[in-house]
């Protein structure tokens, strides 16, 4: 199986949206690629003990966004990736980010500190130069 769904039952996020987000994340990461088959509703239900209509609702949403395609009798298949190039292909960017993480650790930052800084940098970048 190319993707294994999991549920965060305390998150307050609707179950079908959790499945949608996990597929999108896998598409960004490149662990799901065009042509891959998503697990059948029965497979997801057997793993997570959820209503099959919830799985079908998630797949309909992904189909509406043009990311997957249901082929009757065969299954649901990935149509396209997200973000042009797959993240895994951005080797140089990942390397520089890893170097940054090493620096941050050396400076005594923990994971939460780093994630906060990273989120600030992402949120701040469109307003570059106005600060």
């Amino acid at each position: 199986m190319m993707i294994e769904f999991h549920l965060d039952r305390g998150s307050g996020v609707a179950t079908y949206l959790q499945l949608v987000h996990q597929v999108k994340r896998a598409l960004r990461l490149g662990t799901l690629r065009p042509g891959d088959r998503l697990p059948t509703a029965r497979e997801v239900v057997d793993a997570l003990a959820i209503n099959p209509n919830t799985v079908l609702k998630a797949y309909r949403e992904l189909e509406r966004e043009g990311l997957v395609e249901g082929r009757p009798g065969l299954g649901t298949f990935v149509q396209r990736s997200i973000g042009g190039a797959r993240l895994a292909d951005h080797t140089a960017l990942r390397r520089s980010l890893e170097a940054w993480v090493r620096q941050a650790r050396a400076a005594g930052l923990d994971r939460d500190d780093m994630e906060t800084l990273f989120a600030m940098a992402v949120a701040g970048s469109p307003r570059e130069g106005t600060a």
Binding site: G12, R42, V45, D46, A49, I50, N53, V55
Partner: protein, 283 residues
Amino acid sequence: MTTALRTTGLTVRYRRRRALHDCSLALPAGRVAALVGPNGAGKTTLLHTVAGLLAPDAGEVAVAGEVAFMAQDKPLYDTFTVAETLTFGRRLNPGWDDAYATARLAGLGIPPDRRVSRLSGGQQTQVALTVALARRPDLLVLDEPLADLDPLARHDVMRSLMVAVAERPLTVLISSHVVADLRDTCDWLIVLNQGRVQVSGDIDDLLAEHLVLTGPAGSAGGPAGARVVESSLTDRRTRLLVRGAPAPDPRWSARPADLEELVMAYLRSPEAAALPAPRGVSA
């Protein structure tokens, strides 16, 4: 969307007491519906009427296809083995699917030669559920199937029921007084209170149209545009569960209601209702 079950004006009296009063609801095919309500609300009476075990004093039940019913006190014979139970089911039911029943119990690891009395509560429920499913019903009616099970067994029973729903067209109506057991497995909610249908609808739609508002004390009416289902007051704050989108009001903070809050709010306010508009009439 076809309708698997429709009740119209269903009324049942026991001696002078009215157990069901004018119950009308429509359940679309393929849904897994949770029937919830306090003890004595009329859940078992409604299920017996749907299963054809009880004739209503007024009103009608229409089911598209075959119904299988699993009573709360799992109808199994203690002295039978699992295999004998299946043989019994085969003899009683013309449309019996023996290959399915045998494969289902094997998949669950329940030994055919074990006596029913020697099975765990969860296994007994699985055998009774297998007997109901092997009849290949269009509508499966389950009365408190999880009542006497521990949390792990409840999870396993619901998981295997969901697999059965995924495998073929099947509508399920399942009663319970524990809402938490049904959160991930049911997609339709029916609230029965004092013999009346108070809520019937798609769970995601119901959750999307109800909010919990918290605001200043002494304002039980809430902000404009909100229909208050339930209000609770403390010295300092008012907490409301409302239906519909209120006008933005800085004095009130809003968050989505969860299923348990929604059910509790309606049960505490028997006069409130969330029912579909009559057909042909837009809201």
